[in-house]
């Protein structure tokens, strides 16, 4: 499960928020500039007009309104203004707060005034506040909107991932072979890239399910076809007069028979059917299965009530025990703990490919001859039992753990 800080959602949300923030900022800047330019122009016009009025008043009466001042000393004026003074022309300068206007009069005196720009600045500050608030709101909406849209994508992706079984393997999806592969469905929803991906996954699981079905049908057919010649062969071997040749033949027919029986059991186990699970005490059921068996020791660490079907569970345990006895050097330990049954042996353990890829038909484990079907049978049975089977073990021996659904739950594999 992807943490929030790595999620696509966060990246999209952040990108959208950042973009809208930048847009808001740029917009703000543009508006600000426009206000300032316009405002300064208006202020300048106002200042020039006041200056003209003052000049006219001076011409007429020799005095100026209080807002202006006349003097021969231009040094009290700001330098940029002084620098711009030309005879016969009014000049202006904005010092950041107020607009200065000045003019060199006839006789060398300088008329100047200062028009306050407080109103402009107030206007600007007010606009900043408004824009700031709006931008904040926009960024928030953008973030939420982005989050929601991205969320719809990520939730569909996550749903698809969950449906595929996120790492538990193809077996989870196609295991039931009853059309469960089309879990992702072709339901309503936008026909976008996510949909494309989900549809492709559907096709893939569909073809995998079909492949598995063909494999199953094949081994069921093989078993079926083998049955008749095996029957004749087994009977014929029994009819042979006793002797070394007969013993050899009988030994081989036993092996062939075991293989055929396993194939038939596998075919049977893989038939899709509804298995009725009932609550049972795990230790009690397992004890009945293994007691008295040579080479098998049972220990109960703790026992829970599980939902299971005793016959199938017995086949699972017996197959695992037989595997253990055959490959594991003679002693098999069956351990019941809570809802799990563990079968351990002291043999060479499972080969790495088996641990990695899971059981495959006819892949015999290790050096000792076995049919190689035992684990496939156990897997098939586990599906019906809604149980989870885990293989582990290296040189210290093989361990197979079977986790059964509890009495209150629906599925142990969730």
């Amino acid at each position: 499960m992807t943490p929030w800080y790595r999620s696509i959602r966060t990246r999209i949300g952040a990108a959208v928020a950042l973009t809208s923030l930048l847009s808001a900022l740029l917009l703000g800047l543009a508006v600000d500039r426009s206000i300032m330019v316009g405002g300064r122009n208006a202020l300048r016009a106002e200042a020039l007009q006041s200056l003209a009025v003052s000049a006219a008043a001076y011409d007429i009466s020799g005095t100026v309104p209080s807002s202006s001042s006349v003097g021969s000393d231009a040094t009290r004026l700001p330098r940029p203004l002084r620098a711009a003074l030309r005879p016969g022309r009014a000049v202006t300068w904005f010092d950041g707060h107020d607009m200065w206007a000045a003019q060199r009069l006839e006789g060398g005196r300088v008329l100047s005034l200062r028009a306050p720009g407080a109103r402009l600045l107030e206007q600007r500050a007010s606009m900043h506040r408004t824009l700031g608030a709006t931008a904040g709101g926009v960024v928030l909406f953008a973030l939420v909107g982005g989050w929601v849209v991205a969320g719809s994508i990520t939730s569909r992706l996550r749903r698809a991932a969950r449906a595929v079984g996120a790492g538990s393997g193809v077996q989870d999806v196609v295991g039931r072979g009853d059309g469960a592969a089309r879990l992702l469905g072709s339901g309503p929803g936008p026909r976008d890239e996510v949909r494309e991906l989900v549809d492709r996954i559907d096709v893939l699981t569909g073809s995998l399910a079909a492949r598995l079905d063909r494999e199953r049908a094949f081994s069921a057919d093989v078993a079926h076809e083998l049955r008749t010649p095996m029957t004749a062969l087994v009977s014929a071997a029994e009819l042979l007069p006793d002797g070394p040749e007969a013993t050899l033949v009988r030994r081989q027919t036993v092996r062939l028979r075991r293989l055929t029986d396993d194939l038939l059991e596998l075919a049977r186990a893989e038939q899709p059917e509804v298995v009725v699970l009932e609550p049972r005490d795990l230790a009690t059921v397992v004890r009945r299965m293994v007691e008295g068996q040579e080479g098998v020791t049972l220990s109960v660490v703790s026992s829970d009530v599980v939902r299971t079907e005793p016959r199938r569970l017995e086949r699972v345990v017996q197959n695992l025990v037989a595997n253990g006895l055959r490959h594991g050097g003679g002693e098999v330990r069956v351990v019941v703990e809570g809802r799990t049954v563990r079968v351990e042996d002291d043999g060479p353990g499972f080969p790495a490919e088996l641990l990695r890829d899971g059981p495959r038909r006819f892949r015999s484990l290790g050096a000792a001859p076995g049919s190689g079907l035992g684990l496939s049978i156990v897997s098939a049975l586990a599906v019906g039992l809604e149980a989870r089977v885990e293989l582990a073990g290296g040189e210290r021996g093989a361990v197979v753990t079977v986790l059964l659904p509890g009495a209150a739950q629906r599925d142990a594999r969730e």
């Binding site: 078993a223 075919a267 038939q271």
Partner: protein
């Protein structure tokens, strides 16, 4: 236990299976007649006199289930079906059709012979009407009457009752009941036998069937014909 004088009809289409099985049964002391399919099998049963019929389910022209159904219309000769381990449906259908037992291929010769012998050992003439206490069972009409009032039994319950009647005097193992009544001892939970015995007791009376601890059940031997 000897099988002398016991005539078995083997109906099987595959020549190798037919020959080896016939040889096997002969070795065990049976007189064996053979037929290659259902049609020949039906004719052989009509014309000959056999104590047990061993019938393969999958055959051309007429399969084992059809043969069983047809034969049951005029004979109650014990029928043992040869079934496939991976086709459990066949067994149940076979039992419903009227077969008495089944063995899955490939089978052990010993097991086959033992089951044939057991079927042959059944009383030569199955009484059409039998009594157990105040319960009267008419196997021909498939009806059960208790104290004058008719009792309705499911086909499974009836088969179980018939099995108990066949083994009258002896106890029947739960595993055998599973095989003969439900057709499946590997995949069915033995508790279904207990449940059905309880139902029978409910319908026929608590004292009709006796529990044999750790083994199975037996009909109480109180009155009635054996």
């Amino acid at each position: 236990m000897s099988a002398e004088g016991c005539h078995v009809l083997l109906v099987e289409d595959d020549v190798d299976v037919r020959e080896t099985t016939a040889l096997l049964l002969t070795r065990h002391g049976f007189h064996v007649g053979t037929a290659v399919d259902g049609v020949e099998g039906e004719r052989a049963l009509r014309e000959g006199s056999f104590d047990v019929a061993v019938v393969d389910v999958a055959m051309p022209r007429m399969d084992g289930l059809t043969l069983t159904r047809r034969v049951r219309e005029w004979s109650d000769v014990p029928i043992l079906l040869l079934t496939a381990r991976d086709l459990p449906g066949d067994v149940v259908s076979g039992l419903d059709a009227g077969a008495d037992d089944h063995v899955a291929k490939p089978y052990d010769g010993e097991v086959l012979a033992a089951r044939v012998r057991a079927l042959a050992r059944r009383p030569a003439r199955r009484g059409v009407v039998e009594e157990v206490g105040d319960v009267v069972v008419d196997r021909g009409a498939r009806t059960v009457v208790r104290g004058g009032a008719p009792v309705s039994l499911s086909s499974t319950e009836f088969r179980l009752l018939e099995l108990l009647l066949d083994h009258r005097g002896a106890a029947i193992e739960r595993a055998e009941a599973l095989r003969r009544v439900w057709g499946d001892e590997q995949w069915t939970d033995a508790r279904v036998v207990d449940t059905n015995v309880k139902r029978l007791r409910g319908k026929l009376g608590d004292d009709v069937i006796e529990t044999v601890r750790g083994f199975g059940y037996r009909l109480v031997d109180v009155g009635g014909r054996g």
